[in-house]
């Protein structure tokens, strides 16, 4: 059972890539770290300027970019199979659904005054 299944599997998937075998150069990691720290400085400094609601938008966008950098390069999503990438996106998408639909309630409430 072991060997038969393995041989058949091997025949089917000769060229299947092994995501674990890829070695990233050191300077990739250091470049990503430098970018992350630069973005951190940017968000800290931009927070000191009065931009109204743009402060929040800029800071959250920077957070999203930092997250993508960590996921793509530190967590090796660039070499991962599609299934892994879909799984990683799913948590964020579901959280967006939770917050998004909750907002349809909290942003659309109207005060109904009592009839007396």
């Amino acid at each position: 059972m072991n060997t038969l299944a393995r041989e058949v599997r091997g025949a089917h998937e000769q060229e299947r890539k092994d995501p674990g075998s890829h070695i990233t150069p050191v300077w990739h990691y250091l470049a990503v770290l430098a970018t992350l720290l630069a973005l951190l400085t940017l968000s800290a400094i931009s927070a000191l300027f009065p931009l109204g609601y743009w402060n929040t938008i800029v800071n959250l966008m920077i957070s999203v970019i930092k997250t993508l950098l960590v996921m793509l390069f530190f967590m090796h999503e660039t070499e991962a199979r599609t299934l892994t990438r879909t799984t990683s996106a799913l948590g964020f998408v579901w959280l967006a659904i939770l917050i998004g639909i909750m907002l349809t309630d909290f942003l659309a409430r109207s005060i109904v005054p009592p009839p007396w």
């Binding site: 393995r6 992350l36 800290a44 927070a47 402060n55 800071n59 960590v70 967590m75 990683s88 579901w94």
Partner: protein
């Protein structure tokens, strides 16, 4: 990588291939997928706190801005830098073990754990400062004024979010510290590193959570 029948049996005998898997690639892919599924659950777990934060901030925009100014901007920023650096260290550590550079890998993992401890210590200083300023709801909260409720809500969420996050950091520090010791003793190598990869994925997620916590807690209303 197409292992022969003998190689597969050898891997099983050495405990490197579990009986439910047919080959090491399948085993590694399964482990990675399993960890990513778990990370998605963690995103939703913390997500509840972010969702609560979003709603409360919409209800009390000015109060939250006022309350955020009471947090420690410098400490929060440094903590973020510390976590980002620790992420790069563990990524480099996993790379080192794949290249059989065990001593380097052990030091990198130890460094990651050390930075994690640094994060927790700095956070401890933050909590202490907030204790002296009477900003802990339920224990010694003593703020008045028009924004009192909003400040209390903000700090409630602050302690919930940073509390759960710090627990995750602590768990990560313990696991990674333990793995650093095992790496130094030769338990891992180019044929056996999946556990390290999984620990690294977990640590990166802890970092990602903080990447979002930082602007939402420390950077609201700083320009006011």
């Amino acid at each position: 990588m197409n292992a022969s029948v003998n190689e597969i049996e050898s891997l099983r005998d050495r405990g490197l291939l579990e009986k439910q898997f047919d080959d090491p690639v399948q085993q590694r892919e399964a482990a990675t997928l399993g960890m990513w599924v778990f990370l998605s659950t963690e995103i939703l777990f913390f997500g509840v706190l972010f969702a609560s934060y979003t709603i409360c901030r919409i209800l009390y925009p000015h109060g939250f801005a006022y309350a955020s100014r009471e947090t420690d901007f410098l400490l929060g920023t440094i903590e973020t830098g510390v976590l980002l650096t620790s992420s790069s260290l563990i990524a480099l550590g996993v790379r080192a073990i794949k290249l059989d550079q065990r001593a380097l890998a052990a030091w990198l993992l130890a460094g990651t754990a050390a930075l994690g401890v640094t994060f927790l210590v700095m956070h401890g200083f933050e909590y202490h400062k907030e204790w002296t300023e009477h900003l802990i709801p339920g224990l010694n909260f003593a703020r008045g004024g028009p924004y009192a409720r909003a400040i209390e809500l903000f700090f409630c969420l602050y302690y919930f979010i940073t509390g759960f996050h710090s627990l995750h950091v602590l768990a990560g520090v313990c696991v990674i510290g333990g793995l650093a010791i095992r790496v130094a003793r030769g338990a891992f190598g180019p044929e056996r590193f999946t556990t390290l990869e999984l620990a690294a994925l977990y640590w990166h997620l802890v970092d990602i959570v903080w990447i979002f916590v930082y602007p939402l807690i420390y950077l609201v209303g700083r320009a006011g």
